[in-house]
Assembly symmetry: C4
Homo-oligomer: 378 residues x 4
């Protein structure tokens, strides 16, 4: 009797499953341009720092701007729940690992103080930096106008999984098209991982989407609820949606791969998969200047009933400048991320990020079977 299945499954791929194929032509890295545009906002490098309290403080957002990228401030985190977030940060960092999830649940149960939203935005704007702040869908309608009034340049609406249509008993689902008409600044929404959700979100008029469910190192969504799509496949789907939407409407929506990127290699693969930019948490939390001082954690980690992830020790690896631009003597791909991107672009003959979209990729065996020295024991 032939096998009958309830549904068909297709294979999905993550960064460690693929490799980029060099191009037919090569160019010198100094000929490459790494520009990214979100709405009308241009950036020299396609790097965003995640809205995680261990990675982005107002000060860190300023530094990211000076480096050519964008740091997104979590507008529902410690900086808007506490006048003085620094003592809270100290507490989190010094907590023993066994008690830290419970502690995170507690400190994140303090209410958001709305006046602090504007205050944090102004701290960033004062420095001359582009200011991006992130909200969850529940709070976006009420709180995001406060941020924009105070001068925020970009609003990010983010939850683990976001769709254009959310059903809730307790609040009316956020209507993105209304939001955009209200705010008059670029809006970035996420996270999503499929062609169809990406397309439906783009139809609402947003300027960027965040791609990625469950891949980050400070997140255990996939273990806890089984939901997630590896980043290469997720990016390939969302980029296909962007292309189709662009062909139909002439409007180009930025696709930003968010989460699970650890090395320059991962960044290059995300872009070769079709991303216009990348959003990283842990690699930036490893900067000397990051507020987490070698630790990182996510918002879902503090869920009062079903925490997904915990505080992880990520270490301090160097200055933000070294992490982005080198020079470095580290050889594992965690520093000089921009340099790595330029070298990959050169190997693929890509003058621009958009050119690197055309690079071929292969599904390649796990790195460890090729790039390490193996010793055969008895």
């Amino acid at each position: 009797m032939p096998k009958r299945l309830f549904k068909e499954l297709e294979r999905a791929y993550g960064f460690d499953d693929v490799a980029i194929v060099p191009g037919q032509v090569t160019i010198n890295p100094d000929l490459t341009s790494t520009k990214l545009t979100i709405g009308d906002r241009p950036f020299d490098i396609p790097f965003l720092a995640s809205a995680m309290d261990g990675a982005v403080s107002p000060h860190f957002a300023t530094l990211m701007h000076q480096m050519g990228g964008l740091g997104v401030l979590n507008a529902e985190g410690l900086y808007t729940r506490y006048e003085d977030p620094h003592s809270i940060l100290e507490e989190i960092i010094s907590m023993p690992q066994s008690e830290v999830t419970e502690h995170l649940q507690q400190v994140y149960s303090a209410p958001i103080q709305e006046h602090l939203i504007g205050q944090r935005v102004q701290e960033i704007r004062k420095s001359g930096a582009t200011c991006a702040v992130s909200f969850t869908p529940q709070n976006t309608k009420r709180m995001s106008p406060l941020a924009v009034e105070a001068g925020a340049d970009i609003v990010v609406v983010q939850s683990t999984v976001t769709t254009a249509r959310h059903m809730s008993r307790s609040y009316r689902g956020l209507i993105f098209s209304e939001l955009i008409n209200t705010l008059h600044v670029p809006v970035v929404v996420g996270n999503c991982v499929t062609y169809s959700v990406a397309q439906e979100l783009m139809e609402t008029g947003i300027d960027g989407i965040l791609v990625g469910v469950g891949p980050g190192s400070a997140c255990t969504t996939r273990e806890v609820v089984g939901v997630g799509v590896p980043q290469v496949t997720a990016t390939l789907e969302c980029a296909a949606a962007r292309e189709d939407y662009f062909r139909r409407t002439g409007r180009y929506v930025a696709v930003i791969t968010d989460g699970g990127l650890r090395t320059g290699g991962d960044v290059c693969k995300a872009i070769a998969s079709g991303a216009d930019g990348v959003m990283l948490g842990t690699p930036f939390a490893q900067a000397e200047e990051a507020p987490g001082q070698g630790y990182n954690w996510g918002m879902a980690n503090a869920h009062p009933e079903l925490p997904r992830g915990t505080r992880i020790h990520v270490g301090i690896k160097g200055t933000l400048r070294q992490i982005l631009y080198g020079p470095t003597s580290v050889t594992d791909g965690t520093q000089n991320l921009v340099g790595a991107l330029r070298v990959a672009m050169g190997m693929c003959g890509a003058y621009t990020v958009r050119d690197l979209h055309k690079a071929d990729m292969v599904i390649a065996p796990s790195i460890k079977t090729e790039g390490k020295f193996y010793q055969v024991g008895l």
Copy 2:
């Protein structure tokens, strides 16, 4: 010369091979319903506790009922072989690992005392709980009527592999259609893993099937005899049989994935594969209230000549309530299993278990490739 093969092999998948894709619409978890029905018996949550002596005692079955689920009592285990099973449990638990298989072989060679079957059923019924008891096919015809007379609500007929047709020299194979006509209570049969066996079992009139051969953590059937099908594929096949049978007859048979589920993620994946319910051993044996006090073992482990599996130390992780409903500060997916199911349903826009059947799944690279550090324990 072209390659010739004796037979073709298709790929099969387990929980760690797949991930659920978020839906086109999302809903708030508080809008979801997790109901399961077996025959005419409704349950608030689709969770069954396995008929393993380390997991389900009469008292634990009562607690499972209070939580909205169902604990199945092993009617051929310690509770029906010994008036006082507690001292036997103590012995098993305190035995050094190197001697425990031999000890299990010995204590399980004591005869089943038929009067204890009714007595255990009555202990459960007295508390007001729904009572389910399990038998092996060899003993079902003789012993299951004793249980039903004493008030059992559901009869489970279970062996490693069960089919509608079993050939034996020593006893006439159990005829399920006759059994059903005799008992007048819902009958659940297992385990099976293929479309065709599931369909043939459904034709006999049973109310539920248990899916899974060889996947559980206390079982080594696949190492010892090479037989087994990973749970996602097994569930996909049996769910296809249920759909076809339902379309043809209008009768809906519950498909219950049994074994190999460790986390909320696994539970969600089983249901997204088409299961109506899940049966777990080890996660419930980890409850404070479980009779195994941090240990678990299966019936095949005590086979006198070919034991398959052994006593494993599973630890005590929390109360049954915490394991099912949280709240929790544990972030590895082993607590708040119902909460996890509701969150996954929300991410997939599923109001009911039946809706979650429609979620897409992908074959996804092993979790460890996305930046986590995994430790293999016992």
Copy 3:
């Protein structure tokens, strides 16, 4: 530009890649028959012990016969190079690991004493046991008649890779059809792994083929020279050749999977892949009665210029009877191999080995993702 490849590669599978699917009908294990026939020689169980000096001595061959199987004596090993092989065995066993390959190279450079061939055959025959001896192709023409004259019942011709046509400068390739006409006893030839070589060998009139290149635990052929085919695929190919040859000629040639089998599960999978019998080295070298006393090594390990493999410590696991028939309290599949085979046959509804050939198999994820208890650490 479309990808162009120099050649196409197909996927091949080993034991750990597959699992057997239970059947539509089940039978009690006591109804199964495990018989194997090689030429006109019947055996109660389809188990052969490999011609390795650490596994089969004349005494061990006698024991294998008493158990219903067949032990093959290496007629070019220590027993025919030394009057007193026991002191040589002691030396090998007591040698430090770092010096053992050099030592093996040295002791195996002693010449074969042809009079010892007949003497060892007679030792086995005296006990009433079926006597099988193995030669390499180079020595078969000259030495195998000596063994048959002395009473050998079966001649095995074995090298790492054997074909029906071998080209050599130093000796005329062995013509199997001539050999068969000379010897008048069943001839088993190996090793091979492909449909076409198996078929060409069968055409010469031989009675059995050994399947397997490079899979054994005491062999590193695949590392050293890159040659090898995993055992499930190799067996599937050779079994297809047997079927086609049988349909065309009516003559049934035994297919014996040789090497890489460690557990009852592996044995069952080999037979479900189409093998009529299995040949094991290490599992028999682990018997109390084996000459290697807990150590094993192969002939290629002693190659003077390119040794492939070394002496491995395999431990002593039990008596030969326990390994074959149990009873056992070991739960990892290494004991009661015959019992395991009968249980698998029961689960698949197979009355005979030939019936088990019809069982379905699936490509299943690595056992460790399903059958172990995993702990998620940070």
Copy 4:
């Protein structure tokens, strides 16, 4: 909605993913010929030693010639930057691991002294050996004529990724057809990994291509920039280009697989994938006579801003003669590489390297699944 992807990915394979299938006919290894030709230069064995300063000194190049192979001298390394490279080698070797990348960056920033190029060539030629020197594309036009004037027999032009068309702001891309008209010696170019680049390079008139991006054990290109193609697939593509080019033009260009080969098995697989020769770094750096004295490192390791790889401790395994020809008592495939190649050729019935191109290969499960214990060393 059907899944839409931005691009399709094909599977690529490395050495550990495949195995060679034995042939229909076998031959004795002493009947095999292992000859390689590059342009008009014949070699008895198809082995090249990589242009790495830890592997090839002028003296080592002489030894490789005496063994029948070819050692390529790095003409932009320590031997042309320093009059006395030995003290620099000592420094590199004695540096603590934590400081060595920084140190490599520093010593390789010393300028190339052009007069040393000719001097090193003459040292090699004086011994009667064939002399091959390697340059990066940037320096080839200016420096390679100096080497040829001094007597170099073969010029290698090598960078991580080389194409027939390179775009640069700072220098005019190297035109290979012009170079060939100027030099009048065989030119080998690399590295490349695709059919189309290989073909375009062959069209320029070069005599050999080096295949491999990112696979070597002293290189982390794939981690750092995400670019790389596993060696079996890369070789299969480039060999297809060679065949098509040969059929069209009658000119045969040598395909040399470079990097990631550790064992005899890897060498055999590269050739079965279509390579005419192989280039190894680490296995030769493990020779007693190698300048690295048990250490190895690559040029990309010293990149001032983005080092890719570091100094690795490879150990000293034996004399160059033992590594190439044995005899050996080592059983892990790292010695007697030529013997291993001859044995594999025998098993495949291949009289020549060109015959081994016809061998079948299979995609085979990781070796470790067939019963071996592997240890991952540095």
